[in-house]
Amino acid sequence: MRLAPNTLHFFGIILFLFSTLSVSAQEPMAQNVNDGDRVNTNSEIDAYKNHHIKDAHDFHLYSYTNDAGERKHVGFPLPVIIWSSNGLATFMSSEFHHDTDGKVIVKQNGSSFVNLHDKIYELEAGATAVNFDAEHHPTNAALPLDFSITKSVFGILMIGLLMIFWFSGLARQYKKKQIPTGFGRILEPLVIYVRDEIAKPNIGEKKYRKFTGYLMTVFFFIWILNLFGLTPLGFNVTGQIAVTAALAIFTLVIYTFSGNKDYWMHILWMPGVPYVLRPILAIIELAGAFIIKPFSLLVRLFANITAGHIVVMSLIAITITLKNELGAFGSTSLSFVLSLFLTLIELLVAFLQAYIFTMLSALFIGMAVAEHDHDHGHDDHGHEVADAEDVRADFI
């Protein structure tokens, strides 16, 4: 029972963190109201939101204006690594001086780079400034391949290291004793949960072991990143479509390469269906397996997390938008209550999305490796009787 007070402490700290989250996220905005040159109008709030849910090249914690009226940014720069037309270029993002409007030009390896809305463009040779067309798209700059350690990559690396640190610690504990202590007691039930509730029932008792490593990595990766997205650090890693696309493609690759004969048979030459229909079904099934399944995986995670972030930010923005109607105190407290409530829901969503992603991955893998029992799967005419799994496959 020695754990109990520790656990209470732990949850207390978490609750405290999340309750201060909303406050600390609001405070700069509330101050900004008195400060003419920052977030004030609806379009500025939109810009702020967009900036938040997008990736960035430096790690920006907060900004303030000092007594001299100078804008100061607190944060740290991240390395920029770009494969440009003149080869690899690396520099620190601080060289842009927090400029995201394409005004500051960084010259490196004979190429000129500008930061335009947190995307790094390479100017065409000879250009000295970015030219925009009517819709504010740059006309004389192109997007090079950007391998920078952006905020998202930084977050991914951090979470990866954290996971390795936590779980290898748990693994080391097992060498000495049967039952883990301390933080391991929180991790162990989660591991058992993923194994027993996600991997085993969906893949099957015999084959689950091979895929559990991937499923657990993905589950904890998504969950922890979702949770960190709720902190005021400003991560929105699982809300980056590139990240969710990579995750979905991993699942696609795994279930494609571990699919057995039955699986391919059901995709390419569906048994128990008139021969005329089989090529049509094959096209549908191929589209389902290679486009719809991964697309639904990646869009679901991306959209849920992005939508959550936008809604939380919008509720926080109530402080500004309703200030005239409700007064400073009224709008702030309304926004505090609403965003606290929504943050609690987002805590649930953070888990649920990790669960669903892992669950569906396990389901797809399970469908690919399932062994169909042909003895009772056919009725008198040799047609396959649709079992639950096949019906489920038609859904997806």
């Binding site: 639904s296 869009v299 679901r300 669960y355 669950m359």
Partner: protein
């Protein structure tokens, strides 16, 4: 104003998607609740199946929303 008008079809479409998804989710949730009430011992299995179906529906709805955006 013109900008507003160009957004209207998108917004109507988004509303239709949300209505459809809402009806679907409501049916799934209602059926699951009924099932759980009828057989409380099968609550875990019903919940899992419910979440899977809801996730599929959600994927569809999000897909449509993003295609429209």
């Amino acid at each position: 104003m013109e900008e507003m008008v160009s957004w209207v079809p998108n917004l109507v479409g988004a509303g239709l998607i949300v209505i459809g998804a809402g009806i679907g989710l409501g049916k799934i949730g209602g059926a699951a609740m009924e099932g759980i009430a009828r057989q409380p011992e099968a609550a875990g299995k019903i919940q899992t199946a419910m979440i899977i179906v809801a996730a599929l529906l959600e994927g569809l709805a999000f897909g449509a929303l993003f295609l429209g955006k």
